[in-house]
């Protein structure tokens, strides 16, 4: 039977907030609190340290830190709400303290403004299409938000659409468009015939879309192909024959669980055959 005093000490130890800098790259769990850099000096070894009140306006330099996915502001600290690895990005042009976020693996997509996604048109109602993007509600897409929209070239029910969200928050129905702010398609719009659409986890999509991803370069050397990545976990791929398309789909789905050596072996075996 445990003594109440030692239990209290151990339980408090588990809830002590850690500095965000020391936890970068490690796995964090929901419920942990993180301290931002300028607060570490105030904490000190004993906990409550008295600081002389400074009348100089410049002394209290508050850095503006952006709280990304998986983190929430809780008073002065950051509260972790999802399990994953903590990441940090330095600010590009000197303003603010950068972005902190949690890299988590999940299958379910939640619409975010600005994300490019692949959707399936499910219904036409009035002036808008209803597009299934894998979230909790279907997104709405207006007839006019395509480049060169006319009565003739419109998507039909069942078509695949690549577009981006202009409105996506928890209170409203998400809205997407297939043109950018200049009015040009920029690669968005109806995705062509044939090809295969399949679903992967969101973490894999982010890995594949990272700037220096080797997987896509290796896949491109294997067969000529067309490929579209949606941030909602959907990938559309099309190669010359159905067999090649299926091979590519299987490789991309399996990439999640393979190490890079296993992947290189499989690619070399396919290149020979």
């Amino acid at each position: 039977m445990a003594e109440p005093a030692s239990v209290a000490a151990e339980s408090l130890a588990g809830s002590r907030a850690r500095a965000a800098r020391t936890v970068l790259g490690q796995v964090v769990l929901p419920g942990e609190e993180l301290l931002l850099p300028e607060q570490e000096d105030a904490e000190g070894p004993g906990g409550a340290v008295e600081r002389p009140l400074s009348l100089n306006a410049r002394a209290c330099s508050r850095v503006r830190v952006v709280c990304g996915p998986g983190l929430r502001r809780c008073g002065d600290r950051l509260l972790v709400t999802k399990c994953g690895r903590l990441r940090h990005k330095e600010p590009g042009s000197g303003s603010g303290g950068g972005v902190y976020w949690v890299d988590s693996q999940q299958k379910r997509y939640v619409p975010v403004k600005g994300d490019h996604v692949i959707g399936i048109v499910t219904a036409k109602s009035g002036d808008i299409f209803k597009v299934d993007v894998g979230g909790s509600e279907p997104a709405s897409l207006s007839y006019l938000s395509f480049e060169g929209a006319t009565k003739r070239n419109r998507p039909n029910v069942g078509d695949l659409i690549y577009g981006q969200f202009v409105v996506a928050n928890k209170d409203m129905e998400p809205e997407m468009v297939c043109i950018d702010s200049c009015g040009r398609a920029n690669g968005m719009g109806v995705i062509g015939q044939d090809g295969l659409l399949f679903k992967v986890t969101l973490g894999l999509i982010r890995k594949l879309l990272a700037p220096d991803c080797e997987i896509i370069q290796e896949v491109g050397k294997l067969y000529p192909l067309e490929i579209v990545f949606g941030m909602n976990g959907r990938i559309w791929v099309k190669a010359k024959t159905i067999q090649q398309t299926l091979i590519l789909a299987n490789i991309l789905e399996a990439c999640e669980h393979m190490t890079s050596d296993q992947r290189k072996q499989i690619f070399s075996r396919l290149a020979e055959s």
């Binding site: 039977m1 445990a2 003594e3 109440p4 239990v7 151990e10 339980s11 408090l12 588990g14 809830s15 796995v27 769990l29 929901p30 419920g31 998986g70 929430r72 509260l79 709400t81 999802k82 399990c83 994953g84 690895r85 988590s104 693996q105 999940q106 299958k107 379910r108 939640v110 909790s136 928890k170 209170d171 973490g203 890995k207 999640e256 669980h257």
Partner: protein
């Protein structure tokens, strides 16, 4: 013609006529059945056996609701489906742990993790943590749900006879034991993220 049949039955089996595995002369629990609930499918039925299942569902749901950040997902329902593979005692505690891991795996935003710990009190006052099915036939069985931030009590479900001091002792023991569960959570989640 569509009809709704509502059957409410309490059956007493005597001298081996019943098919229950508990033996002759026992009584089955109260059960209720509703048919043709849904209009779309060709047939549907709902069967409720025993009130214990409903209360266990309610306990798990209330614990999850206390921890999940529901304000980030308005107008959304989160369904947790728990399937019992084998019951070797401490079933409610095991269900709570499974529900917590499933919510983390799904990426549902939570304000803390939670775990379930069960303990049994013997007739001479000895405390057994995580009792097996045989040990659960003790004087009292207490199950607690604790959160990971400050080991606060989220839910308690108790059955049997116990005194006030015994309750405090069980709670303290459960709080100490919850550390092991949370350490196991951390290790298994670290192992999962180390593969990528």
């Amino acid at each position: 013609m569509e009809e709704e049949t509502h059957t409410d039955a309490k059956i007493r089996a005597e001298n081996g006529t019943g098919s229950s595995p508990r033996g002759p002369g026992c009584s089955l629990r109260h059960f209720a059945c509703e048919q043709n609930l849904l209009s779309r499918p060709d047939g549907s039925a709902s069967f409720l056996q025993g009130v214990a299942e409903k209360s266990r569902e309610r306990l798990i749901r209330n614990t999850c609701e206390a921890v999940v950040l529901g304000t980030l997902h308005p107008r959304t329902s989160i369904t947790v489906v728990l399937q019992v593979v084998s019951d070797a005692g401490s079933l409610l505690a095991c269900c709570l742990n499974a529900a917590c891991m499933a919510l983390v795996d799904a990426g549902v935003p939570m304000r803390a993790l939670f775990c379930g710990v069960a303990c049994a009190l013997d007739s001479d006052g000895t405390l057994v943590l995580d009792p097996t099915s045989k040990q659960e036939k003790a004087r009292a069985v207490l199950t607690f749900a604790l959160d990971s931030v400050e080991r606060k009590l989220l839910m308690s479900s108790t059955k049997g006879l116990y005194s006030d001091t015994e309750l405090q002792q069980c709670l303290a023991a459960a709080q100490a034991a919850s550390q092991h569960v949370f350490r196991f959570y951390r290790e298994s989640l670290q192992r999962r993220y180390s593969k990528s």
